[in-house]
Amino acid sequence: MLKSRAERVVETAAFVLAAAIFVVLYAPVVVSAVFSVFETRAGRILWDTFTVRYYGTLWSNESVIDALSNTAVVALCAVLLAAVLAVGLALYAQWPGAVGRAPLTLIIYMPFLLPPIVTGLSLLVGSANAGLERGLLTVIVGHTIFVLAVAYRLVLTRLQALPPSMIEASFDCGASRWATLRYVLLPHLASAIATGALLALTLSFDETLISSFVAGDRMTLPLRLWAMMRVGFTPEINALVTLVLLVSIALALVAARLLKPAGEHEED
């Protein structure tokens, strides 16, 4: 099909705009990487000062190591809890005898849909009322309910794709409920659980707004970075920031690869 002149102009404009947007969206990676290996003076980059030593000195910074280990503990606990809850809740939602599916769905999605400031505040007030000290436990609860919706959605979709005849066949062959769960349902759900867990991990790794309300004086990595930002920019922070970006991009790419077979892409 021949394209008119106007169409070509529009397409060129869209291309230029798209290119500019991608430059801006990916600038954080480039900027922090450059600032982590070169020194700057009054905004000018001193190109002859290349060094990677800040990637080394980073690991002797105790507050950073502490924040990293807190983040790892929180992410692992939250993902594990959310995965178990998601499977249990999805199995219940698909059970023919289930009642109250609508309120169940509403409750699960609420923390994900509400602004994080509301979720964080609620947890802060709730834990204060319960006499619970703010700390890693409250952060774990916050992250668990935040990522639960994602894990639940993925597990439920996969579960709905399983023909009920498979489960009936399992029972007909004399398998117990437990054996059906262990040998039919869980293997069918395994990759959905893995994808959900990975997405949940990236979300938890990055979560800042809810954490800021319930963390008390325990710092996760984003909270530590936030605190460091207020002091100023150092090459060490830039080295840390570059690593954080690379880790989250890597996690997201793996998750995208896992999700890909599920999505259909029309070719023409």
Partner: protein, 280 residues
């Protein structure tokens, strides 16, 4: 067969934990908004003073309305930039389309606080934005207008929340059957007519959904205004946050957050309605 009574019992058992960690805290937060503080103690006596104090004081109400306006600006700017990008990606074929889509989605997973940090470095007096503008001669000297004001909050939020606009728009564009576009061309419509009468109306649900996501996210964000907003970039999120820190008036903060939550819920319901009409 399980009796109805047993089924409700199982329902209660399944729901116990989610209710305890999700519903009970939200309930506690709603109740708190009707309490008051006295000598740093929270007194629960069911009064509306917090709400009256919010709606009756222009400092707070004005900040709230200003925040709604800011979120509206963020949405408009995001759509102006995001729609053409979604359209551009949709026009690509095969592997390239998928790659660009991934590239548009990936920034969602890049650390939020890190994006704030680098954007602040880029917008500052010695930042790359000023260096480029001075370098190509648009500005004579580096300017401070890009950081620590309301405009800085706007720019930063658009960059951070742009993928939330692009993805839903792309998804509705992708659902438009090719045959409809061919029919439009066969009937003699030009590129612009096809866009205006077929593509744009059919992609409207995704556009509305994306706009509402962005609005809700911007509304609840209190770290962006704090980091790049300076003294003029005050938003309701910052005010709420300060009630739980320095000001230490939890009930008042809770009441303002309830108002914010109601606006967000209203919009989420609207988004759900838009999404349910997504079918072509």
């Amino acid at each position: 067969m399980t009796s109805l009574g047993q089924r409700w019992l199982i329902f209660a058992a399944v729901l116990a934990l989610p209710v305890l960690v999700i519903v009970v805290p939200i309930g506690a937060f709603l109740v708190l908004s009707f309490a008051r503080t006295e000598n740093h103690q929270i007194v629960y006596d069911w009064n509306l003073a917090n709400y009256a104090g919010f709606f009756g004081n222009w400092v707070y109400l004005g900040t709230f309305l200003g925040t709604l306006w800011l979120c509206f600006e963020v949405v408009v700017a995001s759509l102006l930039v995001g729609y053409p990008l979604a359209w551009f990606i949709w026009r690509q074929r095969g592997a390239r389309r998928y790659l660009l889509l991934q590239m548009a989605a990936l920034p969602l997973f890049m650390s939020y606080i890190v994006k704030l940090y680098t954007l602040r470095a880029m917008l500052g007096l010695n930042g790359i934005v000023n260096q480029i503008l001075v370098g190509i001669g648009i500005l004579a000297a580096p300017s401070q207008v890009f950081l620590y004001n309301q405009r800085a909050v706007l720019i930063t939020m658009v960059v951070i929340y742009l993928p939330y606009v692009v993805l839903p728009i792309f998804l509705t564009l992708e659902r438009i059957p090719r045959s409809l576009l061919q029919a439009s061309v066969d009937l003699g419509a030009g590129g612009w007519d096809t866009f205006r009468r077929v593509i744009l109306p059919l992609s409207l649900p995704g556009t509305i959904a994306g706009a509402i996501f962005t609005f809700v996210l911007a509304l609840g964000d209190f770290i962006t205004p704090q980091m790049v907003g300076g003294t003029t970039g005050f938003t309701i999120g910052r005010v709420i946050w300060s009630q739980f820190g320095l000001a230490f008036n939890w009930p008042f903060g809770a009441a303002m957050a309830v108002v914010l939550m109601l606006v967000a819920l209203l919009l989420i319901v609207a988004a759900g309605y838009a999404a349910s009409r997504r079918r072509v």
